[in-house]
Amino acid sequence: MTTLATTAFDWVRELVYREAAIVLEPGKEYLVEARLTPLARAAGKPSVSVYVDGLRVSRDPREQAKIVDALTTNETSWFRDGAPFRAVAEHIVPEILRSGRPDRVLRIWSAASSSGQEAYTVAMSIQDKVRAAGWRFEILGTDISEEMLTKARAGRYSQLEVNRGLPAPLLVKHFTRKGTEWEVSPELKANIKFQRLNLAAPFPVMPQFDIVLLRNVLIYFDTATKRSILRRVAGTLRPNGCLLLGGAETTLGVDDSWERVLVAGAPVHRPATSIGSKGA
């Protein structure tokens, strides 16, 4: 029962593809309608179609950026999908800490960091182990949306957000109340940096990462862009580094230079050449 005009949908599709290389297939009208309705309302327009028609004329860049934001943001919630975090905290990180590498710095990239929950979740789950081993860690969170980056840097979450998949012992350990919201401790924030990055565009100079989390974001891109992203991500990984994708995502048929192993039930991808003698 969508009322979104075809012309409006096509214009939004082209905008989002041009700005973020994200493909909205026909049939995703409902998504556009749902995500843009709050923007239309905020702009005082009676419908998404009328709102988009106005922008096709005015081309207001701020409103266009809001549309890209609204359609590229995915919901994240702490440990809700727990397997990847267990794999990182209980297997991958301890293995690296045991390696006796001289630099003693663990580097992790949360490559579609959204409002920051994934980066903070990783930090909460590895902090004690890393410190106990005499190492330190740096987490880089990147996102295309300035609005999400601002929120991630603030590290402030509503009561409804902290209710979703964040264990109470970790809430009281790492957060304090700020009015009606909860804020991540400065201690946890100190190891995390958030900056803007468009996955579909060439990457800036990046450090070499031990772990890259690229969860539930490839699904938005077409195959050629997915392949390009995976190739460039491989270039940022240390030898034997790990890539974690979303539960329903795979490199298969997109980029075959990866090996997939299961770590504590979570699929972990490593550049094929770096796999040692041990298989899965």
């Binding site: 509503s158 009561q159 409804l160 109340r177 009015g179 009606t180």
Partner: protein
């Protein structure tokens, strides 16, 4: 103790509450424009900060709250259901308001009154007041602080 409670805090608390249990978000409105409230639910806060949190609403809204929380048609609600639901509503608002104010304080069990009730006692003053419109009806949330010389009365 000085209270640091903003109208926006009340609206944020109400917004979360309404989206979680009542199916649709209320829109902010202006206090004092509605008809006199027919149902008044309150909880008191006592301790580091003393005062009362009051939710006032029409009889129809009270019934809508009962229907929404219990997921029953109005005709199927049992006696006491509407008061129970409205009491739980003010309990949730009160607990969240308490957490924003200086603590530690404790929260009383809710009291629900019918008819035009005067909750304010002498020496009490309004700290924050928010009004909402929901399903075409007016709802007000008022936070009163008691002055320290006034004993807490229930």
């Amino acid at each position: 103790m000085t209270a640091t409670l903003a109208v926006d805090d009340l609206l944020a608390i109400a917004g979360d509450l309404w989206t979680s249990y009542l199916g649709s978000e209320p829109t902010p409105s202006v206090p004092g424009v509605g008809k006199p409230a027919q149902v008044t639910a309150s909880v008191s806060i006592a301790g580091e900060w003393d005062g009362v949190v009051v939710v006032s609403l029409s009889a129809k809204t009270a019934q809508d709250v009962g229907s929404a929380l219990l997921q029953l048609d109005a005709a199927d609600l049992e006696p006491g259901d509407v008061d129970d639901a409205v009491g739980e509503l003010v309990n949730i608002v009160g607990g969240n308001v308490k957490s924003v104010l200086p603590g530690p304080s404790s929260l009383s069990l809710p009291v629900v009154a019918h008819g035009t009730a005067h909750v304010a006692s002498r020496g009490a003053e309004i700290v924050a007041q928010a009004a909402l419109e929901w399903l075409g009806e007016h709802v007000e949330i008022t936070v009163w602080s008691s002055t320290s010389t006034e004993g807490a009365s229930s």
